[in-house]
């Protein structure tokens, strides 16, 4: 039996119509069980925004204008009306699907046929050919199928249907543990292959692939030095205030990925050029920093270099960037995640020997039993860095985990990563912007407010945030807009107090927004338990 794209569309529609994660997962898992290997791979690829094996959705070169032209051909409406409708709906695929209602031949579409449609779209070179091909497809299949068929092309799938949901469903459908499925997906980066291997109990055979980002290992916050257990079992390094990144290289080819697993290669040509001279292949974990006179410049300086497709020589001279390496995850076909830190460090040092000047290695030493970590922390601060990072001796690289083997010491009093839940219109110069934010910490799947602050961000950032908040607005009460919990801010504060006003039961004293953590998602925000701990501790001091 051949798998049906129509049925996949129906399942995805049901998934959209339920908010329970468990139900979403089991709907998908039940469907997965009935599919052949080939169809399972196709479907998983579609759901990861990969219409054709090895071809990301953007490679199809089908932008808004081709979609719009094809939709106009298939529906017979005019461009002005189309644009207005899209404005109301907010999503191009959905708009086209709604406009096609009652205008299609409703012929069935198999997953295999869907894939060959994508292949033909990929293969046709001229925009006009793509348009007429797409218009034919739109007129043939059902409107509901079209909604999801197009979401694969537009990439909205990649964002909307989280990879983790698909991983969960694969685990549930195959009886493999979620940990194994995730680890395999992390290693290989090819979820379609993972799905089939999980079914055949062959996950262990999947190997790491270069140029696909691995999940980062994260550190837990340590708020008081006195808490450090068994001081001698730790290495200590400075914690840098830059962009955490992962560099993949293989004989001249280089890619740089950020913590959000986004490819940021184009923004840092000098780092690319430095790594292209390193022999062999490898994956290095480290930090991108704006760097001058042997020290890191403020993060706000580095921000000028972020998310650029092209960097001028002038900007490169103005904001010189350095990469500080602190871990080695892969070297010459060998995955090193399970090698103890000491071995990884040794190989990292070998790798960086004689490397170009843009590549530095983070200074690491064993914590001295007599050492006063408080003064080490202050020394790191004096060097312009954020604080300290402590790494347990003998520890492994726990990809994707916030592990107790890495501890970060950031500030004298803690700052928190919080999620914005509501934004309020400012006044005066900021009257047209959403500039006052109410924010929350995480408690399981809920987000509970802990405070509110006027933005300490730049006008540009506030403008950008305002756009985002409008797009994720849930409800509006006068000047206050409730938003989906998505945007993470780092907030500093002077203390904690109990508060009946906030649902969390706590309020931050004098909170101020330090910066927008674009690299973090809501699930990375600090937890209510962490706030409780901070509070308890403040009572005993």
């Amino acid at each position: 039996m051949t798998g049906s794209m129509d049925e996949l569309a129906r399942i995805l529609d049901q998934i959209g119509n339920t908010s329970s994660r468990n139900r979403k997962v089991s709907l998908l898992a039940v469907w997965i069980r009935t599919q052949t290997d080939a169809d399972l791979m196709r479907a998983v690829r579609f759901m990861s925004g990969q219409p054709v094996s090895g071809v990301a959705e953007r490679k199809l070169s089908i932008g808004r204008s081709i979609l719009q032209e094809a939709a106009l051909l298939a529906t017979g409406i005019d461009a002005e009306l189309f644009r207005f409708c899209r404005g109301e709906v907010g999503d191009t695929s959905e708009t086209i699907s709604l406009l096609l209602h009652g205008k299609t031949a409703n012929l069935p579409l198999s997953l295999e046929a869907a894939e060959s449609c994508y292949m033909r779209l990929f293969a046709s070179r001229k925009a006009a050919d793509k348009t007429s091909l797409l218009a034919e497809v739109l007129a043939r299949q059902t409107a509901l199928t079209t909604k999801y068929f197009l979401k694969v092309i537009t990439g909205s799938f990649r964002i909307g249907l989280q990879q983790k949901l698909v991983e969960d469903a694969i685990a549930q459908a195959t009886g493999e543990s979620l940990v194994n499925v995730r680890a395999a997906a992390n290693r290989s980066g090819d979820l379609a292959e993972v799905a089939v291997c999980a079914r055949r109990k062959l996950l262990h055979t999947l190997e790491a692939r270069l140029f696909h980002p691995l999940e980062f290992m994260l550190a837990r916050p340590l708020d008081e030095m006195a808490e450090l257990p068994a001081a001698t079992e730790w290495f200590v390094e400075d914690k840098f205030d830059g962009i955490r990144s992962q560099v993949h290289f293989d004989s001249g080819k280089v890619r740089i990925f950020t913590r959000g697993l986004e490819d940021t290669t184009d923004a840092f040509p000098e780092i690319v050029s430095a790594f292209s001279s390193v022999r062999g292949s490898g994956i290095v974990d480290g930090e991108l920093l704006a760097w001058q006179n042997e020290r890191a410049l403020n993060f706000t300086v580095l921000q000028k270099r972020v998310a650029r497709k092209k960097v001028s020589d002038k900007l490169m001279a103005e904001v010189p960037v350095t990469f500080i390496g602190y871990d080695l995850l892969y070297r010459d076909k060998e995955l090193l995640l399970d090698m103890p830190i000491e071995g990884r460090r040794q190989r990292l040092e070998l790798l960086f020997e004689g490397a170009p000047s843009q590549l530095l290695i983070s200074a690491q030493r064993r914590v001295d039993p007599e050492e006063d970590i408080e003064s080490s922390f202050l020394a790191a601060r004096a060097r312009g860095n954020e604080g300290l990072l402590l790494k347990r001796t003998g520890s492994l690289y726990e990809s994707g985990r916030r592990s107790a083997s890495w501890l970060k010491v950031k500030r004298a009093y803690a700052s928190l990563d919080v999620v914005v839940t509501a934004a309020e219109q400012g006044s005066g110069r900021r009257a047209t912007m959403l500039s006052d934010y109410t924010f929350a910490v995480r408690d399981g799947e809920r987000f509970l407010n802990v405070g509110k602050a006027y933005s300490g961000l730049t006008d540009d950032e506030i403008r950008e945030l305002t756009k985002i908040f409008r797009s994720i607005a849930k409800e509006r009460y006068g000047k206050v807009t409730l938003v989906e919990p998505q945007v993470v801010l780092e907030v500093a504060f002077d203390g904690l107090q109990k508060s009946p006003r906030h649902k969390s039961g706590f309020a931050l004293r004098f909170p101020r927004i330090i910066r927008w953590r674009k690299d973090k998602k809501a699930e990375d925000a600090d937890t209510l338990d962490h706030v409780k701990e901070l509070y308890e501790r403040s009572l005993t001091q």
């Binding site: 409708c85 709604l98 009652g102 994720i472 849930k474 409800e475």
Partner: protein, 334 residues
């Protein structure tokens, strides 16, 4: 006829009659009892018996005010200042009506809020031949097409049963008049225990008078949530959710046609059913009426009028017609 459009309503000058005025006038036709059509105290108010009954519940009078309510039911005609006015059913909410005004060889129909699909409760729309049609366009974009009443009935009952089987409480948001009672009717007719918020429950007797039955419905009680479906007004969702109940919320509305309604309404289940017509229904009404001139008075007026002009009708969107949002639309901002 000289039809004058202003934020105060539509005025038919020759016969001194206001259509759904927004302020008190000497004489008014009210098409149905939603608050944006039937409001304040015109001296003479003409509408169906049902509409007038609900209007009186919403706009009661004391001894200090005299007001003449003059029923005109489906199929009935009367003279009015030298014209002949006739009432026809409009498939919108219970009691909703269109009015045909005949004056000196011209036939003008004011449709009020309307759909062509058979309503869950109330009479189906009758399309009246006329020279000039005044029609709404709340959902006058080609993206809007809605479930039939039978499909909606199945979706509503199906969702409720699925939730109850999973041990969750199904919650339906409905505006107080029309949608609310229709949802209760679908649920109770399917044998599902249903608790109804007071703002919705208060009109159930009116529906019962018209022969609709709601077997076993109970008044909503915040202490008794589980094991039944809840039909509440939109503003209650946050209150119910913050009480930590295991609930699943459905949104039955024309706006539920778009996925972004999930964000706006806070519901997980979208049931695209409306008391207003979808694009094709409005178009069909216009075509079947035979009207040469079309006035589009509400919603996407400019865009819908343009669509009609593209199809050869003399259609326009009079400026400043109807400024208030309908009850249903106001849910969006909630």
């Amino acid at each position: 006829m000289d039809l004058q459009y202003s934020p105060e309503g539509i005025y038919v000058r020759e016969i001194d009659l206001w259509l759904d005025p927004q302020v008190s006038k000497p004489a008014a036709w009210i098409s149905h009892a939603h608050s944006d059509h039937a409001r304040y105290y015109s001296q003479t108010v003409i509408g169906t018996t049902t509409t007038l009954e609900i209007y009186r519940m919403r706009w009661p009078v004391g001894d200090d005010r005299s007001q003449s309510l003059e029923p005109l039911d489906y199929g009935q005609s009367r003279d009015w200042n030298g014209s002949r006015i006739t009432c026809y059913p409009a498939g919108h909410i219970l009691g909703a009506a269109q009015v045909l005004i005949e004056y000196k060889n011209e036939r003008v129909v004011y449709a009020g809020d309307i759909k062509l699909r058979k309503p869950l409760c109330g009479q189906p729309t009758e399309v009246i031949e006329c020279d000039r049609l005044i029609i709404e366009s709340t959902f006058g974009l080609p993206i809007f097409h809605f479930l039939s009443s039978e499909e909606a009935r199945l979706e509503i009952a199906g969702f409720a049963l699925e939730c109850l089987q999973d041990g969750a409480t199904p919650v339906f948001m409905g505006y107080p008049l029309g949608r609310g009672q229709e949802i209760v009717q679908c649920l109770t007719q399917a044998g599902i225990p249903t608790a109804v918020h007071g703002a919705i429950a208060k009109y159930i007797p009116v529906y019962e008078e018209h022969g609709y039955s709601f077997p076993g419905w109970k008044a909503y009680d915040s202490k008794q949530i589980e094991g039944q479906a809840l039909v509440v007004v939109p503003g209650m969702r946050r209150q119910l959710e913050s009480a930590g109940n295991n609930m699943r919320v459905a949104y039955v509305s024309g706006w539920a046609r778009m996925d972004n309604a999930r964000l706006r309404s806070g519901a997980e289940k979208l049931i695209p059913y409306s008391d207003h017509g979808g694009f094709d229904e409005l178009l069909e009404m216009v075509e079947r009426s035979g009207a040469k001139k079309i006035d589009v008075v509400h919603g996407y007026t400019e865009l819908f009028a343009r669509q009609l002009r593209d199809r050869g009708f003399d259609a326009s969107a009079p400026a400043s017609a109807r400024v208030r949002n309908s009850e249903e639309e106001s849910m969006q901002a909630e």
